[in-house]
């Protein structure tokens, strides 16, 4: 969704806590475009989606493929244009990036059985960065955060401080959280509370 900034509000108003030079930085990245894509990897639509996005989606839950920068802090890929595709289910991807995803996939939608839903308002994006990022997350996240089990460019859905979200380990000491908008304030309270000990 292209945002009309005059009228739009993000769930956290671009809140920021800590600093990139300290043990922890937590910040909302408002108005990050996001789409839920459903496509059967065995179907004809799958190749068409790959071609339209210029990516090769891997239908293994937890994988990320991308051709753009993931986060604000430290990434070598270009921030503009491009798509990141997070595999959330065997036929389910979360697409995010500044490419015009809706336009790219519109022709595929017309010919194939896929579903593309704009969920840019449904989730916001929280970037959590720093040497203590993993420790802060481990207060609430029951899944294994060890790098060998959740390496860079792995993603997972789960429950953080009782709020469902998508987590993406985007680069060293940096994690992106995509919580549902209604949980954003709760999550912010939880994360900044856990961060107290590390700042």
């Amino acid at each position: 969704m292209m945002v009309n900034s005059e009228f739009a509000k993000s769930p956290l108003g671009g809140a920021k806590y800590g600093d990139a030079n300290e043990a922890i930085l937590i910040q909302e990245v408002p108005f990050t475009p996001g789409f839920d894509l459903r496509v059967d990897p065995e179907s004809s639509g799958f190749a068409a989606v790959n071609q339209a996005l210029g990516l090769t989606l891997i239908p293994n839950v937890g994988t990320v493929v991308r051709n753009n920068a993931s986060c604000i802090v430290g990434d070598e890929l270009p921030a503009a244009g491009g798509v990141s595709a997070l595999c959330l289910g065997p036929d389910w991807w979360y697409l995010t990036g500044t490419a015009n995803i809706a336009a790219l996939l519109k022709p595929v939608q017309e010919l194939h059985h896929i579903s593309l839903v704009d969920v840019s308002s449904q989730r916001t994006k929280i970037e959590i960065y720093g040497p203590s990022a993993k420790d802060v997350l481990a207060h609430y996240w029951e899944q294994d955060l060890r790098d060998e089990h959740f390496p860079i460019d792995a993603c997972s859905q789960g429950v953080l401080a009782k709020a469902p979200l998508i987590m993406w380990h985007c680069c060293e000491n940096c994690y992106l959280l995509f919580p549902r908008a209604s949980f954003a304030k709760h999550l912010w309270t939880a994360l900044t509370d856990a961060a107290i000990e590390y700042l």
Partner: protein
């Protein structure tokens, strides 16, 4: 070591920082710590660590904590402690300390940092595994620390390795299935006596380990003889450890033992300057190696050995402290009394089997060690060290728990010190026929105190065995339950308190609702505005005003919490026909339809309006509370029954913000908000959807009504929700635009007889029960729930059916949940027949009186019948009516 000052029972002392409070008090010559719970007997410290049964204290400094064994309290400057007589008390100030939780996955969890735990950590670390070593003591090394010996450096160095994490002061409280452990780490109490608000005082760890090594070690246990509880009677390992570290208030000791540990401790006592008057060994004969290592060793030091004897009784001085010990021959009546102010008891080792028994591993009895041990190894769990029976080679013990006692002696021979439970209590249980440890425990309360039988458990099983001539393992097995030691509830709660105890879900418009002063209603995790009071208004007045404004002018409601599911695919219509009781595949593009879904049992499950956005694209709405449940339900049928259907479902609950404008003036307001939209009834009909720009943003507008009034629901991407709401408020200012909350929404829908799933239903109502047979398709071959409608029970007469109720007194609002009684009035004598209950009940501005909805047996056939509602103070009478109270002809919805 630095010297610190502390207070015990109001008196100032000094001790060494980091030593235990028990040690510091002994160092200061304090032997009488407290009195026993029930019998007021003087008690001193018995043990070294959490096995301590007597020396309980309340901590008043810092966070404060009741009933801590003084043996586990680390001395810090300014510590304030009070002796606790069995029962603790909480400080009456709020504990402002921070408590938190953390999760950790690891290859290997090693519980215990004694030499065997360290060896296990080394082994797995060498294999490249990640290891966490958790140990409840302040320093690694286990017994070596007590013995004052240095821990081998190659073992200590393991704790520094990259793949090893060492957490001291961390107690594994529970071990569960699949390698899951819960531990508590004490992080600040040993630093100083302050309250820490940034660093958590106790951290609760949730550990998932591929493999867990239990290296929990062992406690020493006591023997049961007369007056075995006096200050000055201690476990031998504890006594020797305190004395060796300089905490030595004793002059003369007697050691009584069933194994070689007593000898080792006698030597330590001797070396520390205590005169050891005698070692009393229950064993007449010992093995050659024992003879060499123990008997000859004390002989060399000139310590007297009394073989084949035990302690029968003890005596105290005027202060209640031990001053002599009566020794008896096990086989004869020979007795001797020896002066001593310390009786060091070595009743054998009790391996700490707790964690193993938590996951159902049964300890086995080793007669050689006189101990229950756990020798276990599988892919998830293994044991090592003393727990696994790996005692010293010469650690041979006699299976013995105490001498025969006279009735009088039994009265003062304590089995469980904390419960003041004696051998007499125990004997009574045996004489009453109890044989199982579980029965004896409940009969005597042995093992039910603060220490949960850490030392008394094995003693009790041994005594049962002695009493009935069986080995302890023939009696049963030790079973423990988490937590291993008592912990503050606050530690288990962690940060899950206040705002963080449960997520509060909020809509994009929430801040406006809060600023307007609306009280919130909890709907599941959602916070929804309940009503919007003007100054001085109570809820009743606010709701009447809001409802009147909706029926006369225009109201606005935040409906963003409704569950929404985007459904796409060529078979979506067919799928919806199977899910809903009514027909959807025939719905025209751009139209919405209300639908009801049932479970396979035919009971109403959820409801909502579903819109056909385009040929193969639908948008379903669900109840606020049902969103997640319905999505699981749809996926269940698609994935497990009808995978051939080309349908994809995507939750969009929070993508779309919905602002409903409701009331006769909503058409005017809608036209102001969307000047490009033709809002006339002819071009924008009921249940139709239009796309238009509203207040500058693209929107889908639906003519849906949950009140019976002309209404428009404005749907926009949630980022614009607040903007739309504010635009509605400003454009509608001169139309008496009135924000209303969930309460008015409930009243307005009830006036129209619209049900709320979860309020009119509880999972036992069919559509027919709700007087909604009209929504059950007769044309469709099948849909979920259809077959159940013809089951004998669902088709029978007399089911509870939805009706209206009007109390005769229109000013009385019947409480929801009230029971209805047939044909009765205040004069009907009991018994009266209960025929149903009130599901919704309100005062109505439109009716100028109260009204209610109810489920009544055979209700649809009973309209006009009189009923009574027995209340606590009176009987209210009323009449059964139709469930629709306002605008039965649906004339208002088109404006």
């Amino acid at each position: 070591m630095s010297t610190v000052n502390f207070t015990f029972d109001g008196k100032q002392y000094s001790g060494e920082k980091g030593e235990s409070l028990a040690s510091a008090l002994l160092r200061n010559g304090v032997l009488h710590f407290t009195d026993s719970s029930y019998k007021d007997r003087p008690r001193g410290v018995m043990g070294l660590w959490v096995e301590e049964t007597n020396a309980l204290v309340n901590i008043d400094s810092g966070a404060g904590e009741p009933m801590k064994p003084a043996t586990t309290v680390e001395l810090v400057e300014g510590l304030v402690a009070r002796s606790a007589q069995g029962v603790g008390d909480l400080p009456d100030t709020r504990d402002n300390s921070r408590y938190d939780k953390a999760n950790r996955h690891v290859d290997v969890l090693v519980v215990g940092a004694g030499t065997s735990g360290l060896a296990a950590a080394k082994k797995f670390s060498d294999q490249g595994k990640s290891v966490i070593v958790m140990d409840d003591k302040p320093a690694a090394g286990g017994h070596l620390v007590y013995l004052g010996q240095s821990v081998p450096t190659e073992l200590l160095a393991v704790l520094e390795r990259e793949n090893v994490t060492y957490l001291p002061r961390t107690t594994v409280q529970g071990l569960y299935d699949q390698g899951f452990s819960v531990a508590t780490e004490r992080r600040t109490d040993h630093l100083d006596a302050n309250v820490h608000t940034e660093m958590s005082r106790i951290r609760t760890w949730h550990i998932r380990a591929e493999h867990t090594v239990l290296a929990t070690g062992a406690f020493q246990r006591h023997l049961v003889f007369a007056n075995n509880d006096r200050p000055g009677i201690m476990l031998s390992h504890a006594a020797a450890t305190y004395v060796s570290s300089g905490a030595n208030p004793f002059r003369t000791a007697v050691v009584v033992t069933i194994d070689n540990q007593g000898y080792r401790d006698a030597i330590r006592l001797h070396n520390a300057g205590v005169y050891v008057a005698a070692v009393v060994d229950i064993r007449k004969k010992v093995s050659k190696s024992s003879k060499k290592s123990s008997r000859k060793a004390i002989k060399k030091l000139g310590i007297r050995l009394i073989k084949g004897a035990t302690v029968i009784d003890t005596q105290a001085n005027l202060d209640g402290l031990l001053n002599s010990v009566t020794i008896g021959d096990a086989k004869s009546d020979l007795q001797e009394t020896i002066k001593a102010d310390l009786l060091a008891v070595s009743g054998g080792w009790t391996p700490i089997v707790h964690l193993a028994t938590f996951i159902g591993i049964k300890p086995t009895w080793s007669a050689k060690r006189a101990a229950f041990i756990v020798k276990h190894k599988d892919s998830l769990t293994s044991t090592t060290g003393m727990l696994a029976g790996e005692f010293g080679d010469d650690d041979e013990a006699e299976v013995f728990f105490g001498p025969k006692l006279s009735t009088d002696q039994a009265l003062v021979a304590f089995v469980d010190y904390q419960r003041d439970a004696t051998y007499r209590d125990f004997k009574r249980a045996i004489d009453a026929g109890m044989r199982s440890i579980e029965h004896v425990k409940r009969y005597t309360a042995i093992g039910t105190a603060h220490d949960q039988g850490k030392t008394s458990g094995t003693v009790t099983m041994g005594l049962i065995g002695q009493a009935i001539g069986k080995a302890p393992d023939e009696i049963g097995s030790l079973t423990f339950r988490p937590p291993y030691i008592s912990i503050p509830f606050a530690a288990l709660a962690g940060r899950d308190r206040g705002l963080l105890s449960d997520p509060e879900r909020t809509t994009p418009i929430h801040a406006w609702h809060v600023a307007s002063g609306a009280p919130m209603e909890d709907v599941g995790q959602w916070k929804r505005p309940w009503y919007f009071p003007k100054s001085g208004e109570n809820m009743h007045a606010a709701v009447l005003r809001e409802c009147a404004a909706v029926r006369q002018d225009v109201g606005v409601m935040d409906a963003s919490t409704l569950g929404k599911i985007d459904i796409q695919g060529k078979d979506a219509g067919q799928f919806l026909d199977l899910i809903y009781t009514n027909m959807f595949s025939t719905l025209k593009v751009g139209m919405s339809r209300y639908g009801l879904m049932c479970g396979i049992d035919g009971m109403v499950f959820d409801d909502g309006v579903t819109t056909r956005i385009s040929e193969n694209h639908w948008l379903m709405t669900t109840t606020t509370g049902g969103a997640a449940k319905v999505l699981d339900w749809l996926e269940e049928w698609l994935q497990t029954e009808w995978p051939h259907l080309e349908v994809y479902c995507t939750s969009v609950t929070e993508e779309i913000s919905t602002v409903a404008i409701v009331g006769p003036k909503s058409r005017e307001l809608m036209s102001r908000l969307a000047p490009s939209l033709d809002v006339t009834n002819e071009s924008f009909a009921f249940m139709e959807n239009k796309h238009a720009e509203v207040a500058g943003v693209p929107a889908r507008i639906a003519r849906i009504s949950f009140s019976g009034e002309l209404a428009y629901e404005i749907n926009v991407p949630a980022s614009y929700g607040l903007h739309i709401w504010e635009s509605v408020m400003s454009k509608g200012a001169d139309l008496n635009i009135t924000p209303y909350g969930t309460e008015s929404m409930h009243v307005l829908r009830a006036e129209k007889g619209f049900v709320i799933v979860g309020q009119e239903t509880d999972g036992t109502q069919t559509p027919q029960d709700l007087d909604m047979d009209w929504i059950v398709s007769k044309k469709k071959e099948d849909f979920i729930g259809k077959r159940s409608f013809s089951r004998a029970d669902t088709a029978r007469q007399g089911r509870h059916q939805l009706v209206g109720i009007l109390a005769d007194d229109g000013s009385y609002v019947i409480p929801e949940g009230a029971y209805l009684v047939a044909g009765a009035d205040a004069n009907t004598p009991p018994p009266v027949k209960h025929i149903g209950y009130i599901t919704s009940s309100y005062d109505s501005a439109a009716l100028g009186r109260s009204f209610a909805l109810a489920l009544v047996a055979n209700g649809l056939a009973r309209k006009g019948e009189k009923i009574a509602i027995p209340m606590a103070d009176r009987v209210v009478t009323g009449v059964i009516t139709d469930s629709v109270f306002v605008d039965k002809e649906n004339t208002r919805r088109d404006g």
